[in-house]
Symmetry: D2
Subunit: 330 residues, 4 copies
Amino acid sequence: MKRFALLGAGRIGSMHASLISASENASLVYVFDSHQPSATALAEKYDATAVDTIDIILKDDSIDALLIATSTDTHVDFIIQGALAGKAILCEKPIDLSTKRVDDCWQEIRNCKVPIQIGFNRRFDPTHASLQQQLKDGEVGDLQQLVITSRDPDIAPVEYLRHSGGIFRDMIIHDFDMLRFITGEEVTEVYAIGSTLISPELAEMNDVDSVMLTLKTTSGKLCHINGSRRCVYGYDQRIEAFGANGMLKSNNPRPNAVSKSTEKTTDSLSSLDPFFIERYQQAYKAQLDSFITALQNGSSPVPSFLDGMKAQQLADAAQQSLESGMPVFL
Amino acid sequence: MKRFALLGAGRIGSMHASLISASENASLVYVFDSHQPSATALAEKYDATAVDTIDIILKDDSIDALLIATSTDTHVDFIIQGALAGKAILCEKPIDLSTKRVDDCWQEIRNCKVPIQIGFNRRFDPTHASLQQQLKDGEVGDLQQLVITSRDPDIAPVEYLRHSGGIFRDMIIHDFDMLRFITGEEVTEVYAIGSTLISPELAEMNDVDSVMLTLKTTSGKLCHINGSRRCVYGYDQRIEAFGANGMLKSNNPRPNAVSKSTEKTTDSLSSLDPFFIERYQQAYKAQLDSFITALQNGSSPVPSFLDGMKAQQLADAAQQSLESGMPVFL
Amino acid sequence: MKRFALLGAGRIGSMHASLISASENASLVYVFDSHQPSATALAEKYDATAVDTIDIILKDDSIDALLIATSTDTHVDFIIQGALAGKAILCEKPIDLSTKRVDDCWQEIRNCKVPIQIGFNRRFDPTHASLQQQLKDGEVGDLQQLVITSRDPDIAPVEYLRHSGGIFRDMIIHDFDMLRFITGEEVTEVYAIGSTLISPELAEMNDVDSVMLTLKTTSGKLCHINGSRRCVYGYDQRIEAFGANGMLKSNNPRPNAVSKSTEKTTDSLSSLDPFFIERYQQAYKAQLDSFITALQNGSSPVPSFLDGMKAQQLADAAQQSLESGMPVFL
Amino acid sequence: MKRFALLGAGRIGSMHASLISASENASLVYVFDSHQPSATALAEKYDATAVDTIDIILKDDSIDALLIATSTDTHVDFIIQGALAGKAILCEKPIDLSTKRVDDCWQEIRNCKVPIQIGFNRRFDPTHASLQQQLKDGEVGDLQQLVITSRDPDIAPVEYLRHSGGIFRDMIIHDFDMLRFITGEEVTEVYAIGSTLISPELAEMNDVDSVMLTLKTTSGKLCHINGSRRCVYGYDQRIEAFGANGMLKSNNPRPNAVSKSTEKTTDSLSSLDPFFIERYQQAYKAQLDSFITALQNGSSPVPSFLDGMKAQQLADAAQQSLESGMPVFL
C-alpha cells in the first residue's frame, strides 16, 4: 500500500484524489492546495488530511509519493523539494513552460534517484496503447508514416491562453510524446505552420489556434500532426500508423455504441467524449497503476522526466518554426 | 451476340432495354408493350423495332431470347408461348401470383428444354453474392443462423397493394429466394406474424405491412426474416449469416462513402439507395450477363423456373401461417 | 451510506463485493457463502466479516440490504428470509427455475414492502440504456420491430447445462427482460424454434443450443430474438429497434477502438469482450448505483420482482413452444 | 452526338474507348497509336478506324474532340496540333513533366478558344465530389484543415519511375488538384519531406517513395498530404475536411459491403479497390460526361488547362522543397 500526498485540489487534482482513493494499492494521506478551502473539502471527502504547506508532507517519512497537480509554474519547485526529500513523484505535464527551467530542475535532481513519472496519460489509453503494442509486435511491419489528429472541443478562455505557453507547449506537447512513444525514435526535424482561424485575439500573443506540423525521425519515418483548439463534434483524438504491411488506426471511442439511421443520415454514432477527463478516464487510472507498480517493483517509471524534457524541446522547436517560417533541425 | 426481344416497356423494361443495349454480347431487336406509344418510344431510343403483338417475335428465328418485364398476370402466357417457340426466357419475378397457375405453366413447358431464368436479381448483387460465396468457401464454417432484413423505402399505393398478392408474394418472395440461395437447403417449416403498423387500409385486404418470419431448413438451420413496407432511411437490405466459425454481414452499400461529424452525431453515413433500381443496378447487369453466358455455354441458367416456383410456395406457406396463426410444415 | 451483506462469494459475488466496496455510498459488512473458505477470503479482501449462516445478518439491524449472488436454487429462500427480516434485496437473475416457486415466493413476500430488485443488469448498460432512452424520447418514432441478438462466447459444460433450466430460462431470459424494457409492453404470443447445431448432448435433455423466437406485443409490435450458445468472435449482444421515423442499433462496444488494415481485410475491429463480466462491467456498477439510489429515495427499485416473474413466464412459454412446435398465446 | 478520336490505345486508352463507345452522347471514330497493332485491335473492337498518323484526324471536320491518352511526353504536341485544328481536347494528366513546356504550350494555344479539359478524374468521383459539394453547401462551415491520404497499392517498376518526373509530378499531382478543387483557393507555401522507405533505388534518382507535405492557402487554411508508393491493403485514397461546424471524410469505398467477424477480428471489411481503374471507374465515366456536356453547352470544361498548370507548379515547388529542405513560398 503506497501512501500518497496530493498537491493541487483543482479539477485534475480531484480526479487524482478519487483514483488514489479507489486504488487497492494506494491511500490518500495528505491534500495540499494553496487555496486552503479546496484542500480541506477534498481531504474531507477522502478521509485525508488537508495541509497548507508541503513541509509537513516532506517531513512525514510514511509518505511514499507526491502526485503534483498544481499550476504549471509550481511544478519545478515541488519536484525539486520532493526529490530532495526522497519522495517518488508523479507530476502532471508539462514540467514547466521554460525548457531552461526544466534543464535546471534536472541538474538539481538527477542524482536523487527518486522515481519520477510525467503525466503523459495518453500512453495508458487502452486504444492508443493497443496501437503501440500491435506496432511493436510487428502486426503491420515497420512503421513508415504516422498521422496524429489532436483537437480540443473548444478554445480555452483568452486569459488562460495568455499564460498557456502557446498551443505547442500547452496542447500539442501530448502529441509530441505520443509520437516518441509510438515511433520509439527521436525527432530530427520539425516544421510547423499555424493560423488563427477561430480566435483572432491569439494573433497578438504570437499564438495560433490551428496548426499543422511535419516531423521526421532518426530513421526517416514521416509524421504529421494536425491540431485545433475547437472541434464542434467533441474531443477528437486519433492516430493513424502506416506500416510496411498494413495500417493501424486509433479511432475515437464513444461513450456508447448506439448508431442511428434517420431520413437524412444513416448509422450515425453518438457524440465523442466531451473532453479529456471523460476520454482518458481509463488512461488516468492505468497511469496511476503503472506508477504504483513501478514503485512496488523498484523499476523506473515511464514516461520519465527526460521524456517530459524531450517533449518540451519539440514544443520549443515547433514554436520556433512557426515564428521563423523555417524548419528546425534538432 | 444474342438477339433479344423485350416484352414490357415500363420502368423495369426501360432499365432492361438499357442493359441489353449496353451489353457487348447482346442486341435489342424488338420491344413489345400493350401500350403501343411506350413500345415505340423505347424502341426508338435503342434502334429497335416496336411491335404490338409478340407473334412477330415468336416467328422471327433470329431472336434468341425474350426478356419478360410485363405485368405479373401476363408472365405465364408469355413464358408458355416463348417456350413453345423455342426462345430462351429471362422473366421478372414472380412467375405468377397463383401457385396453381405456376404449376400448370410448368406442366406445359417442362419438356420444351428452353433455358428459363427467373429475375431474382439479388443473387447477382456483388455484396449478397460475396456473402454467399464466402459462406460456400467455408470462411465462417457451417451456417447455423440467417437473419434477413428487407425493408422497402415506402409503401406502395393502396391500388397497387390490392393486386399485389400480399406482402409475401410481392415483396418477401425475394427473401425466400435469398434464403434458399444462401442456405442451399429447402425450408421445412414457416411461421409468420404480421401487423398493420403503417397503413390501416391493409387490414381489410387480409394483408399486413410489417412482418416477421421464422423458418427452419432441412438440416435444422434457423432463419429469421423481418420485413417492412416503409423505411424512412431508404431501401434497407441486409443479411447476417452466423456460422460455426464466424459471421458474415451483407451490409447496405452507400451511393457514396462520405461520412460527416457535427455537433450532434459523428461519422454519419449518407442515405441508402432510394430503391431497387439504384441499389441493384450492378445486380441487374450481372443477372443479364449470367443469362447470356448460360445461353452461350448451353448451360442451364440459374435461378431456374423451379427456383421461382419454390419461392412462390414459401410465400403461400407464409400467407397461410399469417392467416391461421400457426406454423406451416412443408 | 448503505450497509450490505453479500450472499455468495463465487465469481459473480466477488465482482459485486468489489463494486460495493468501491461505491462511495455503500459498505460491505458481511460475506456469506456455504463454502466457508470462499467467504473468508473475500471478506478479508474487503475488510468485511465472513459468516457461515445468514442469521447473523438478518438479526443485525445495521444491515440495509442483501445482495444475493448464490446458486439459483437458494434465491427464493434467501429472498423470503431477507424480506421477512426487512432487508432490501438485490437478487441475481433468475429468481428460480420454477415459475411455481417464484409465484409462491411472491405470495409470501408481497406484503413485506421491502425494496426488491432483480439483477437484469443489461438495462443499465450505457449502450442498451441509451437506445431505450432515445426510443422513449421519440428519436425514431413509434417502435415497430425489434431484433435482439444474444450469443454467448462458448457453450457451458454439459453438467452446468443439465441444471440450467434450458436455454430460455438460463440465457434468453435476459433478452425477454430487454424486450419488455424496450417495448414497454407485454408479450401476447411467443413462438420458438431451436436446433442442436453445436452440442449434440443437449438433445437428450430436451434442450437446444441455437434458437430463434418470434414474439408479438400488446400493440402489435413484432420482435425477433436469435440466440446461440457459442459465438467464436466473442460475446455478441446487439439490439436493433426499427421505428416509424428511423432505426436505432445497440452495437457491440469494443475493449479498444483500434482498427487494422492488412493485405486481406480492412478496418477490422478488435475482438468483442470475452463475456458478461467484461461486457457489462459498467452496467453492473450502474445497477448497484440505481439500487442504492432507490433505497436512498425510498422509491421502488427497477427491475422489480414482478419484472423477474414476467421474464420467467416468457421463458416458460418459449420452452413450451419449442416442445410443442406451436405458438403459445399469453 | 460528339465524335471522338482517341490518341493512345494502351491500358488507359482502352478504358476511354470503352467509355466513349458506351456513352449515349458520343461515338468513337478514330483510334491512333504509334504502335499500330494496338490501334487496330482497339479500333476493331469498337467499330472505329485505326490511323497511324493524327493528320487524318485533324483534317476530318466531322471530328469534335480528341481524347489524349498517349505517353506524357507527347501531350504537348498533340494539344497544340489539336487546338490549332480547332478540336476540343480532353487530355490525361500531367500536361507535361516540364512546367516550362506547359507554359510554352499555353502561349501557343491560349488564343485558340477550343475547350480543353485536363484528366483530373478524381474531381468526378462520387465520394470526393460529394465531400466538395457538401463543403461548398456549408454543411460543416468554413474549411480550416484538410488532410489528404494518397497511397498507391504498389511501387511502379524502377524503369517507369526513372522517367516519371518524381513522386510529386507523377502521383501527388492529383492531390494538388484535389486540394485546389476542395479549398477553392491557391497555395501560398509548400513544404515537403520524403524518405525512401520502400525502394532504395530511388535515392540515386533524387526521388523518394514516402512523402509528407504541408501547404497553406491564401486565407490561411492548413493542408496536409501524405503519400506512399506502396500500400499493402490496396489503393488508399481518403480526404478529411475539418470545418468550423464539423468534419467531412471521404472514405474508401469498397468493391462490396460484406463485413466479417472471426475469432481474431470483427466487422472486417473487404480489401480496397486494387488501383485507379477500379476505384475511379465511375469518376472516369462522369469526367467524360462532364466534358461532353461542356461541349454541348458551349461552356468551358473544368478542370481547365490552367488547372493543370497550377497543379504542375505545386509539384515543382514540392520537389524544390524536398531538395532544399526549406519551404517554398509561392
